[in-house]
Symmetry: C2
Subunit: 167 residues, 2 copies
């Protein structure tokens, strides 16, 4: 099992302005990359807010939604499972998958970071500064996790940059 | 006059854990780059907290310290000027310099961003995640400032990455 976070951020490290703000500000090239990555993944994990902003595009994917709205697990359809990470053993739940794509938002990225389940990170940096907004992670204590930069790639002429980090 | 922000951030966009935490976590290669940039600059602008964490290395530089501890301007020595950005016309103050290096912290970077005085940004991304800490900027409203990616450079084998953005 490899857990791979995929995130687009601004130059100042923001994933969105607020929790209802999905990826309308990212480049077409980043969206293409995201779709390629999802095609290669066995399951997608998203938080409930992120899920709500992308129900339709996620409907064709095998999808686990992290939410406190269910006690433990609740299967919604053959492709859709709701899971409460506070009561479910996430590591066991994900064990059957080879490639797990983590799509955020902040709380979901942070869950994987804090539980030492983050194996890789694909970070697209769009050449824009928001000045404020949601961070990629928000832990209570500092984690100081070191990664290796595996590759860098310019996705377009505007300077959208894709970085690949491995734990 | 060109105002150039120089900052080191974590993968998750943090410049420090807190306001007393200077650059002990950055790579030697980033420090070399910083010194090169400062040698090429006519004046360095820093906030008072950042200044206090680096009084000795900054003592040989022509330096303006942003602080609310002075009413307007107060010359401390031939190389050191304290300025209150709330009462002083910063643009006029900096007009005599060709190259202005902005070293942070967060409030000082934010001042230049919010007053549309940020011409360039050198961003060093160290391959570490803090999970929490101080952001590069913290504006009250979102600014949505677009930049161009001028260049990227790997500074060492650990994957420290230097990005150069121009407004």
């Amino acid at each position: 099992m490899r857990c791979i976070a995929i995130a687009a951020v601004t130059i100042d490290g923001k994933i969105a302005l607020d929790s209802g703000h999905f990826s309308d500000w990212t480049s077409p090239e980043d969206k293409d990359f995201l779709h390629e990555m999802l095609d290669k993944s066995d399951v997608v994990v998203v938080g409930n807010n992120t899920y709500k902003t992308a129900i339709e595009p996620l409907s064709k994917r095998n999808c686990i939604v992290f939410t406190s709205s269910v006690a433990e697990l609740e299967r919604k359809s053959d492709k859709l499972l709701f899971a409460n990470p506070a009561t479910v053993d996430v590591k066991t739940l994900l064990k059957e998958y080879k490639t797990v794509a983590i799509l955020g938002g902040m709380k979901t990225y942070t869950y994987f970071l804090q539980h030492d389940l983050l194996d890789e990170l694909y970070l697209t940096i769009e050449p824009v500064i928001f000045g404020r907004g949601l961070n990629l992670f928000e832990t209570a204590e500092n984690v100081n996790a070191r990664f290796k930069l595996e590759s860098t790639k310019e996705l377009n002429k505007n300077g959208t940059l894709l970085l690949h980090y491995i734990k």
